[in-house]
Subunit: 412 residues, 2 copies
């Protein structure tokens, strides 16, 4: 293991992204490999949230909707995300949850592709993606959800009845990356649209939606974007669809003239029609502040670090723990892999609990995946090497074989 | 005017609710008659939000979903609202926006009343209510929205085709209060359901949903509940509907077992199935803290204060400003009136701007309503008397007749 620690020190010394770690609060002694679930808190966030509460809200009150820019925040915060997904200013709307935005996108696709009534969804998608598709299908008679089974090529699910393909760019369990341009081309050749879920992409994996000719995308901001627990989600729609775009969550904040108080809904121009109700300003302000750092980040260097770090982890785990029967379920090829790595292990749940008890935070995804996330913006190779040392020790000593690590919370 | 100020002092001295004003931050010199749009900040909120950020998020990280109760907050925060609407613990879910919750409710009603395809909506509802109904109707073929025109009795709009009536308990312009029990009985007699919007009710006007045999309700928490800008909304469904209740925004947080990661959506028991995606925790924590005070409030006394205060305002305005042609559009009878009062005036927009410039914050609602809100939890009669003195002066001196008060922001 000394060898991996030495190599880690060298990699850290050469890491151009390393200085950004100082922007985050790291709890004492913690090795946090769960930034793909909830990112660390940027140290600048508390002051911003305090100012939003005690300045903008308490002093400015209702006037802050204009004077503090609350009304325009769904779009101005979106402008900070745009460069991370290849989008332009004004194209990204922020608000609601990823789930709600999935609903908007799927429903909008049904409207854009009349006569087609199938949502084709990766059956291995994160559950909320398929649940939202099911909710839409239950609501709109004739609409059905068709699933792609693991390993089934996208093209085999397509047909003249498919309105939209719902796919995660990076798989939440395995981290497998879809070829966005190739899939989109296949989908378009069959007359359908594609809605990408970028929850495990943005802030860690390269993504250029317009270059891939994508139609729509939604994403999460509380993972690699560090916006805070449950931070509002984002949504992008290709400008070619803006004019015809209709989404059913047509709340007043997406109206062309919200304060005319007219009876008929008239969508705002462009992506602003994706906004629905009144934004949750405190959470939105925290996200806005968390996003400020991204303008300074060398994105190609960040993505290269992600690939180098996950490769380093795979090599170290297989070298030190392979004989215990841990099985890599993430792609071995870095270009096919997002920024997390999963190993299946029969006692994976207990191992993850034993690691958490030691201050090494990863997570477990049923049925057997030990999942470790590598947020390249703040994680060091040395932390990764130390985490592997803990993992090896937990396995070598069977420290996981302890009743307290078998307790499963109803909600974990 | 001296007479009204003297009377105000007496009323304040006898006001059992007066001590709660100390719980709120009031900007220096401001008379805030817009708590029906965005409530004042409770002084205890900033410390709670700071703890949520620097303690629960920054230190607890992903563990706080269980250890800090983030997962259960949509329901535990709802439990704080329940007593204000006559509901029981476990019946109120908090999250998303009022707009999104309206969509859930209307869609759920279509499901509960198969074969009925009309949403009957008050055409004078707050715009987002009718916009959400329109969005649902555009999405679900065969569904239509029928409007009640001003003054039209509810019964005349009902028919065997109506699945649900969407109505505000307190009208956002006029403050007219609907008779919840009587309307609900009419609606039930015709086989339909009723979805109440309580945005201008909760925290200022008496409401007992089960006593009125209501079916569903949604409401806003950033007005009289002081939850902060865009604070998450609440939703209630009568327990008799829980078993059959299906709502289309079926996100993973409303799943019976969110971490089993099963492909099929299975709704959680009871009102938790109203929860959709991951809650915006910072905003939810602020709301939770803001709601703590309500357990201490004598609600009948609060509602009596609201009626007394609006009556006092009406009398003072008509006495001092009646000759200028301001016209009361709110009900004169206190029992028929919510906690705000609107006067139509030809130059209402400019008058409201002139008042704002003097530190008296009300708002304007097209086409001509000067709207003044009276949050009984923190407002004093003396402030009300002073506000009327300013209004009288603005009208007497034509201070409103100034170019700077005619400028209308694109979004105000």
């Amino acid at each position: 293991m000394t060898d991996f620690l030495r190599r880690a020190a060298d990699l850290d010394a050469a890491d151009p992204i390393a200085p950004f770690a100082a922007e985050f609060h790291v709890p004492d002694g913690l090795i946090y490999l769960d930034g793909n679930s909830l990112g660390l808190m940027p140290t600048r966030v508390p002051a911003r949230v305090a100012e939003t509460a005690t300045g903008e809200w308490a002093e400015g009150l209702i006037r802050s909707w204009t004077s503090a820019g609350w009304f325009t925040m769904p779009m101005t915060v979106g402008d900070r995300i745009a460069p991370l997904i290849g989008a332009s200013a004004g194209e990204v709307a922020v608000g609601d949850s990823t789930s709600v935005n999935l609903f908007k996108g799927l429903a909008a696709a049904l409207h854009l592709r009349p006569g087609r009534h199938v949502v084709l969804a990766d059956g291995a998608n994160f559950p909320t993606d398929v649940y939202m598709a099911q909710g839409l299908a239950d609501l709109v008679p004739g609409t059905t959800v068709r699933y792609l089974e693991p390993g089934q090529p996208v093209s085999s699910g397509l047909g003249d009845d498919v309105a939209v393909l719902l796919l995660s760019h990076v798989d939440y369990r395995t981290a497998r990356v879809r070829d966005m341009a190739a899939v989109t081309a296949d989908v378009h050749a069959r007359g359908a649209l594609v809605l990408w879920d970028l929850s495990h992409t943005t802030g860690a994996v390269a993504c250029d939606l317009p270059a891939a000719d994508a139609d729509m995308a939604v994403g999460c901001t509380y993972k690699y974007l560090n916006g805070g627990p449950g931070a509002p989600a984002f949504m992008w729609v290709h400008p070619r669809h803006h004019e015809a775009l209709r989404q059913p969550l047509s709340g007043w904040m997406g109206h062309a003239a919200p304060f005319d108080f007219t009876r008929g809904y008239a969508p705002a121009a462009g992506a602003r029609r994706l906004v629905c109700g009144t934004p949750q300003v405190l959470s939105l302000a925290a996200l806005d502040e968390a996003l400020a750092v991204w303008a300074l980040v060398d994105l190609p260097a960040l993505y290269a670090k992600s690939r180098a770090m996950t490769s380093f982890f795979v090599e170290a785990v297989e070298t030190r723990c392979g004989h215990h029967g841990v099985t890599l379920i993430s792609p071995r090829e870095p270009a096919e892999r997002g920024s997390h790595v999963s190993f299946d292990y029969a006692h994976g749940y207990e191992v993850v609990q034993a690691l958490i008890a030691r201050g090494v935070i990863g997570d477990f995804r049923a049925p057997a995946a030990m999942r470790f996330g590598f947020a390249p913006l703040y994680l060091s190779f040395t932390q990764v090497a130390r985490a592997v040392a803990h993992l090896a020790d937990v396995l070598d000593t069977r420290a996981w074989d302890d009743p307290r690590f078998r307790v499963r919370a109803v909600v974990t």
